[in-house]
Symmetry: C2
Subunit: 385 residues, 2 copies
């Protein structure tokens, strides 16, 4: 096991009817900016529940934080924060709303010239406004971690920052509200969660049985519960299990002491940048190809995964790994994601452009740092046509 | 899944050489009281490492917190805290040292007449001194939870309190230092950890697959790693895995949304009170008997445990459960704990005394509240002679 430090101070408030807990979680003195995305919270009853809980408190509203939240939008909120003396941010929505809110919280307290430096130059985040969260979408895990991803229209960049100050003080997760999600977001959330886990698990072993078993536990839960949510969309427990799986997958718990990868995300982000494909769909496309390409380097963990998650037996390592990859693809299909280059517009030209991105950046991906532009191109060639 | 709230703000600093991190984790301005138990930290090099890291800081030492920490001892430390204006407590030792330190932290800030009321009357803990911890023994999980158990000599009571203020700010866990532990403490720690998990797992199902798999992951780790520590006492990874299993078992993570039991602990505590038997040994004695007694009530989870932890197949529920119980007992024996009434002095008279305790208290144990004095007596009769 590798050395690690772990500190996740967020209070998770999980379950039916828990949005009402906002009344007690927020001080009456706080000057709150409530941030949100589009119209979905008005359709699913979340807005009414939040407003009922906030009765008697000082609340300003800021809506319009888009999927892949924009720097430009966030900076409008920062102006409101400064003009109105806001001292608490309440994010009501999905991962994008929360990621944008985290950046607003950092930018509002940033003492340098340009808050974009937090993302572009890793400028130190010494202080942030406190954040609370009502999370409506199981997927990103942002409700229990310190990460934020923000895009800038003017420069077409998509960048991230992490800060210990960026953890929400509290996150309310009511699985009931996820019943109204469109199937596309549910499918994406399941695949996103699955790939979050494997980025922390399918690498090379460093003797971490607790963490491995817990990663496998989340994967097995997704495999068992994922298809159920489409067959029984009103089943509360299925919704609750998928929500808790998503939070568990990326709150750092599975990452402690292990070797991590994140190459699937690295390649997937570029596919989204060039084609606009949903994040989760790019992951479903890249994962099988990357595992085929790295089958030797990842062999021990892939065999463990095959055995423990899919109960595949056999002595021929290649055959076992191929079967595990096929079962993984079939699982993605069972939750509504049939990934293919053609469907997503990943043409030969796009593959070459992505190759160039990595060649130019000189970045090497993967837990062994062995994937440069050429290898990324090879992996793209191995994706399903 | 049941509703829950979860908030564990402790920073875990895990790994080789991490005691040196104390220098950065503690402010130079803090007036620190370093609390400890007996002589073990002087024998295993921990004291020297701590003192080296504390160089230049203001430190007062208080040693002598005993196993099953005593109220009377803790109150001596409270006097030092008050006289010297101590503003930070650093616990260096095992779970007893930390539990005592938590009580010191609460008592020193208690505004009522008698700090014992915190334990005896559940008096509200509004504020505590901040606590840091160097944990030297994998067992109680106190390093990442808000619980403290304290005894009082004058009244022969052993009571506990929990507070959100009671979580250590940080806990340093260096598996290297556990290599010098006596085998008896290692055995006890493994069994204690195992039973902590099953108290949160072998109850009745409420559809919590993530939590169940994670509980099973800790149990499987103990089963696989436990015997290795005696065969290879110098293996760092085995020590690290047992330490992380112990912390994971009782930091609340496995308990979220599930039904809990804690009857094994309830009965075990009385056996310790009447016979002085080690806590973990009482758990190893009671567990098989309680499962036999409650085999119908716990049937679904016992069958799941049999299948997933011990890979026992079969259609005869009773036979499967009996085999799972036998494998559990064999596991306890494989880590050095062969529990029996006779060896521990649990005579017929003691069984009747314990029955009376529960009859007089009117407490009913178990996840269904169906175990009163008579049932506890029946369970004691089912323990190994």
């Amino acid at each position: 096991m590798q050395n690690f430090e772990y500190c996740v101070p967020t209070r998770i408030v999980f379950g039916k009817g828990q949005i009402a807990r906002l009344a007690a979680l927020l001080s009456d003195d706080a000057k709150i900016l409530m941030t949100s995305g589009g119209s979905s919270i008005h359709k699913n009853g979340v807005y009414e529940q939040v407003m009922a809980a906030l009765e008697g408190k000082k609340v300003t509203e800021f809506s319009g934080i888009e999927p892949n939240p924009k720097y430009e939008t966030c900076m409008k909120a920062v102006e409101i924060v400064r003009n109105e003396g806001i001292d608490f941010l309440l994010s009501v929505g999905g991962g994008s709303t929360l990621d944008g809110t985290k950046f607003i919280a950092a930018a509002a307290k940033y003492e340098g010239d340009d808050p974009w430096d937090i993302l572009a130059k890793g400028a130190e985040v010494r202080e942030m406004l406190p954040i609370g969260c009502v999370m409506t979408l199981p997927a990103t895990g942002s409700e229990m971690n310190g990460w934020s991803v923000v895009s800038r229209i003017s420069t077409t960049e998509k960048l991230s920052f992490w800060s210990q100050h960026s953890f929400p003080q509290f996150s309310i997760l009511d699985p009931e509200v996820t019943k109204s999600l469109p199937p596309r977001q549910v499918s994406n959330g399941i695949v996103d969660t699955f790939v979050h886990v494997v980025e922390q698990y399918i690498t090379y072993p460093v003797n971490t049985p607790v963490q491995d078993r817990q990663a496998e536990g989340v994967l097995l839960t997704l495999v068992e519960e994922g298809p159920k949510v489409f067959a029984h969309p009103d089943d509360y427990d299925v919704r609750a299990n998928l929500f808790w799986a998503a939070t568990t997958a990326l709150n750092g718990w599975l990452a402690q002491g292990v070797v991590q990868d994140w190459a699937i995300h690295g390649i997937g982000h570029e596919i989204t940048a060039f084609t606009g494909t949903d994040h989760a769909k790019t992951l479903a496309l890249v994962l099988p190809a990357l595992w085929k390409h790295q089958r030797k380097e990842k062999q021990e963990k892939l065999l463990q995964y095959a055995r423990r998650v899919w109960n595949i037996q056999g002595d021929d390592a290649n055959a076992v790994i191929d079967e595990a990859i096929a079962k993984t693809v079939a699982f993605f299909e069972s939750v509504g994601i049939s990934a293919s280059r053609k469907a997503y517009g990943v043409t030969e030209e796009v593959c070459r452009q992505i190759e160039s991105v990595f060649l130019n950046r000189g970045v090497r991906l993967g837990e062994r740092g062995n994937l440069g532009g050429h290898e990324v191109y090879e992996i793209l060639q191995l994706t399903a046509e």
